[in-house]
């Protein structure tokens, strides 16, 4: 029993050491201490009336940062799906319609949802200069009775 416990502990310690060693030499290494998340600037956020006005003017791309299943169950009419968690996989489908200078509005769902923030950060890092976030977008849009649709991305 004692020997098994020691061995189990050794497995954990060896795993931890290997992980730390591998991270030191890996080209994809990440900092040991994660930097604090960047608080969004007020200018990055859109209010619902602002988003509604932009949507009605057709001046922006709307991007839904949630998973495809959530998007299919309901999304803002005309919004495209670019799941933040599967960005690399889905970006090629959306890339042809995006232009770096045009306004992009991203949203997800829920007060604590960070998918839209991750998607916005990713897009900005790729050179999209005009990205705004509609916080808790799906819920506020839907409860305001604004236009929604269902179905997969075409």
């Amino acid at each position: 029993m004692r020997r098994t416990f020691s061995r189990a502990l050794l497995i954990v310690v060896m795993g931890l050491s290997l992980g730390l060693a591998a991270n030191t030499v890996s080209p994809r290494r990440i900092p040991l201490i994660r930097p604090p998340p960047k608080a969004p600037q007020p200018s990055e956020m859109l209010t619902l009336p602002e988003a509604k006005a932009i949507w009605e003017s057709g001046a922006a791309f709307f991007l839904d940062a949630r998973a495809p299943a959530d998007y299919a169950a309901g999304h803002i009419t005309g919004a495209f799906n670019l799941p933040a968690e599967e960005f690399d996989q889905h970006y090629p489908q959306v890339a042809p319609i995006l232009t770096p200078d045009r306004l992009v509005v991203v949203y997800c769902d829920g007060q604590e949802c960070e998918l839209s923030h991750h998607l916005a950060d990713k897009l900005r890092s790729m050179g999209f200069r005009n990205v705004r976030i509609l916080h808790n977008g799906w819920t506020v849009w839907r409860t305001a009775g604004l236009a929604t649709q269902t179905g997969d991305q075409k």
């Binding site: 416990f5 061995r7 497995i11 954990v12 992980g19 994809r28 990440i30 900092p31």
Partner: protein, 167 residues
């Protein structure tokens, strides 16, 4: 050897070792390749302070990989099963907590390869893994119980004649 005994002594432990070890290796590799994605997956659970996330994302997959490999090759089976049991309990707590809080997030169980959302299916999967790990954790308790034994039990070492005779 009777069929039931053969199943219990040889076949089940082998299946459990390979299945559990295989799953843990399969789960560890994408997390090792993309630690930043795994850190984000852990972050989505909203259970740990931000500062700890990277450290866990860097180290946990290697513990998974090591325990998985040991299970598959059949070395230190019981100790590996203990480590896997600990991890499965940890995952169980995390998934249950996230499901009960109504979080709609990716499981992160296999990096981001599967794109699986957390829910009852991921809970059931984790419980199945936990069951196998607990079973293997006990596999050396009785002589001949485990396909691969690290050391014979004291009872097994005792001469047959003294075991059969009452004291």
């Amino acid at each position: 050897m009777k069929t039931a005994a053969l199943l219990q002594d040889k076949i089940l432990p082998l299946i459990f070792r390979l299945a559990l070890g295989g799953v843990f290796i399969f789960a560890a590799v994408p997390k090792i390749i993309a630690p930043e994605k795994f850190a984000q997956a852990i972050s989505n659970y909203r259970m740990l302070p931000n500062e700890w996330l990277n450290l866990l994302a860097i180290t946990l997959p290697w513990v998974e990989l090591l325990a998985g490999i040991l299970l598959v090759v059949g070395a230190w089976v019981r100790a590996s099963a203990w480590a896997v049991t600990g991890m499965c309990v940890m995952f169980l707590v995390a998934i249950s907590s996230a499901v009960s809080r109504g979080l709609n997030i990716d499981c992160g169980c296999f990096g981001t390869v599967s794109g699986r959302r957390i829910g009852l299916a991921s809970l059931a999967f984790d419980i199945a893994l936990l069951g196998m790990a607990v079973w293997l954790s006990w596999c050396e308790r009785d002589a001949g119980f485990c396909f691969w034994r690290q050391e014979p039990s004291s009872q097994e070492l005792a001469p047959t004649s003294t075991r059969e005779k009452p004291a």
